[in-house]
């Protein structure tokens, strides 16, 4: 698995006539600043929408309990979306968690995968920007960032600031697969901002919830 170089990334962005092969990242506000010569990554900027948890009203999060609509509502009830425009800032307090997004919108070709990585300049202030770091081949949308301040002091975050980078790798074995095959049933296709979690739609939920019942029955049988 090798990292795709800046030169190749630029070719994939601007000189690839085949739409299937093309990497889309829009808008790149400062091309030379965001794809620097010799580096194997594209710097990404912090977007303008954020989701915060209303902790004072939250006893716990159980994404699997209740009816489907209730579950989604339950999650939204405890999360609040706010918009911080360019030129403004938001303060992330120590241990505080927020969901954000990249300013840029991505569409990865089927032969590239990405990994979200923080910039060390921010990391040294205690900022973590991503927990689910994998960006799958064919992903289409704004990349969600999970922001957390692990430091001791509040950190001011500015939309538009270069907050992290995406490192790209070659993904093999996807020949013969179409974009539409990947998009069917995908939860976050075409996301234009940080989104609420849709974990409650996970197909395995039903099975997981039946575990305890079947586990008890299996235990009785084994005894």
């Amino acid at each position: 698995m090798s990292v795709i170089s800046s030169a190749v990334l630029k070719r994939r962005l601007f000189e690839t006539p085949d739409e299937r092969q093309r990497l889309y990242v829009v808008p790149i506000l400062d091309l030379e600043g965001q794809i620097r010569v010799g580096q194997g990554a594209i710097d990404v900027r912090l977007g303008t929408e954020f989701i915060f948890t209303r902790r004072v009203q939250l006893s716990h999060i159980d994404p699997y309990s209740g009816a489907p609509e209730e579950r989604a509502q339950h999650l939204k009830q405890y999360q609040e979306k706010i918009v911080i425009g360019l030129g403004s800032r938001m303060i992330l307090h120590p241990q505080q968690f927020a969901i954000g997004g990249t300013l840029e919108y991505f569409r990865l070709p089927l032969d590239l995968a990405g990994m979200v990585v923080g910039r060390s300049s921010w990391g040294r202030l205690g900022l973590v920007i991503a927990m689910a770091t994998m960006v799958h081949p064919g992903y289409t949308g704004v990349i969600t960032l999970e922001l957390q301040n692990l430091g001791d002091a509040p950190i001011a975050l500015y939309p538009g600031a270069r907050i992290g980078q995406i490192v790209f790798y070659e993904a093999t074995g996807n020949e013969g697969i179409e974009f539409k095959d990947l998009h069917r049933g995908a939860k976050y296709v075409g996301a234009i901002s940080a989104g609420f979690s849709r974990i409650s739609e996970d197909a395995e939920r039903e099975r997981i919830l039946r575990f305890s019942q079947h586990y008890r029955e299996a235990s009785r049988f084994l005894r």
Binding site: Y24, V25, P27, I28, V83, G85, K180, R184, V189
Partner: protein
């Protein structure tokens, strides 16, 4: 005896509380503004000044003797009443305006269009709880304010337009083309065109319907004129996107015959005819059949030809004789209206040639599920081209988009519309971000 004692302190306490809650609301609004329009910023500043002034005045009234200008009891109460009414009227405009989750990136774009005609125009977008599109000029509120006698630290905006839009359609970016119609009303008012119309249309009407003497016919047509002018104005500014947005609104039955709006059938017929005159479409021989001039791609051509067939063969017979008669009369006046709009829009409108060059690549990009805006080194597409590309996809290529995301059932197809709106909105937002970024760079150098 203080004013408080005379009126009862309860009244003053209530007024004071209202003023304080107003201040609190202002703080909340200003904290959640993604891309504040100049109109919002101006209003917030003025409202804050005035709120502080009111609170101070109330405090004076409560604790000390009445100031000398309060010679009578009625005067201060009336004055405070007016000021508070103005405050709450402005608050109402602000509270439902471009705040949170609403595509406020559209506001600067429409403001830029308005400023082509009125250089100091400020635009505020207000969302309505009922299904309606509207236009309001806040100048009356400002006049009330001036009569209140309280001095202001901030100057009043000269032209502040509040454009109303149904809250239920707040995510429907494409339908916001209707703003151009409301801007048309603003321009009509600014240019005081209606008197000209009375002079130019009336003789034409009498000529078109010889012997017709009913005054209400002419009143109806003059009422329609305002709408027709705004439709022509919108079409000049936004091209086919305007027609398609109005068709969608009209098909939902918003406009009814007899109201101030002409029947949707007539509006669409007239706009289609105007599109022909703007060279988006052409007429084949004398058959009345519309065809493409090559500025629309084959699928769009087919789409508009279908509109032409639909309008040529349907609802006119269902309209009452009165309206049929009115339509015939107004057709005679179309050239006048067109000439007036042409005179106002001159070189500021969107052209068929521009559509032919710019929209195709943007459509192609949307079908790739990518917002049609690039970055560093590539010129920004125009706002109107983005809207048109969105409408082209919605009207003629939605099947392709559905195939891209393999939308099969109804819910998945609704999701495709959400994605389309998102892509168009994101393109408009990115366009704005690029402008802000470039201006910041220029300021540094």
């Amino acid at each position: 005896m203080t004013i408080g004692e005379e009126f009862g302190n309860e009244l003053l306490v209530n007024l004071s509380r209202r003023a304080e809650s107003l201040q609190q609301s202002l703080d909340e609004i200003s904290a959640d503004t993604p891309y504040p329009s100049e109109a919002r910023t101006a209003l917030l500043r003025i409202l804050r000044d005035l709120t502080i002034a009111v609170i101070r005045r109330l405090e004076e009234l409560r604790i000390g003797p009445p100031p000398p200008e309060f010679a009578t009891i009625e005067a201060p109460a009336k004055r405070l009443g007016v000021v508070l009414n103005v405050l709450f009227r402005l608050m109402e405009s602000l509270v439902h305006s471009d705040v949170q989750r609403i595509p406020s990136a559209l506001v600067p774009a429409f403001e830029a269009i308005a400023r082509q005609f009125v250089p100091d125009a400020l635009v505020l977008v207000q969302y309505l709880w009922h299904y309606n599109f509207g236009y309001e000029n806040l100048s009356k509120v400002f006049r009330d304010w001036q009569t209140s006698g309280l001095p202001l630290a901030q100057p009043l905006p000269a032209s502040l337009i509040v454009l109303g839009f149904p809250m239920s359609e707040k995510d429907n970016v494409l339908l916001q083309c209707a703003f151009a119609h409301e801007l048309g009303h603003f321009i009509t008012q600014s240019e005081a065109l209606e008197n000209t119309v009375r002079v130019t249309i009336n003789p034409g009407l009498h000529q078109a319907i010889p012997g017709e003497t009913r005054p209400q016919l002419f009143d109806v047509i003059l009422r329609w004129y305002r709408e027709m002018f705004s439709d022509a104005f919108g079409l000049h500014l936004l091209g086919p996107a305007y027609f398609l947005a109005l068709a969608e609104i009209g098909l939902q039955g918003l406009a009814t015959p007899g109201a101030k709006h002409p029947p949707p059938y007539f509006r669409l017929t007239w706009m289609l005819e105007l599109m022909r005159r703007l060279r988006y479409l052409d007429m084949r021989g004398n058959s009345g059949e519309l065809t493409s001039t090559g500025r629309l791609d084959p699928v769009m051509k087919e789409h508009f030809e279908a509109w032409g067939r639909f309008l040529a063969t349907s609802p006119a017979p269902r309209l009452s004789a009165f309206y049929h008669c009115a339509i015939e009369a107004v057709k005679e006046a179309l050239s006048n209206i067109r000439a007036e709009v042409d005179g106002i829009v001159q070189d500021k409108g969107y052209t068929a040639e521009r559509f032919a060059v710019e929209v195709g690549p943007l459509v192609k990009r949307i079908l790739q599920l990518v917002p049609p805006v690039d970055g560093d080194g590539v010129p920004n597409p125009s706002f109107v081209s983005i809207l048109n590309a969105g409408w082209v996809v919605k009207s003629t290529r939605l099947n392709d988009l559905e195939a891209t995301v393999t939308a099969v059932d109804l819910e998945e197809k609704r999701e495709v519309l959400r994605i389309l709106n998102g892509l168009v909105y994101k393109a408009i937002e990115y366009r704005l971000v690029r402008q802000v970024w470039a201006r910041a760079g220029e300021a540094m150098s």
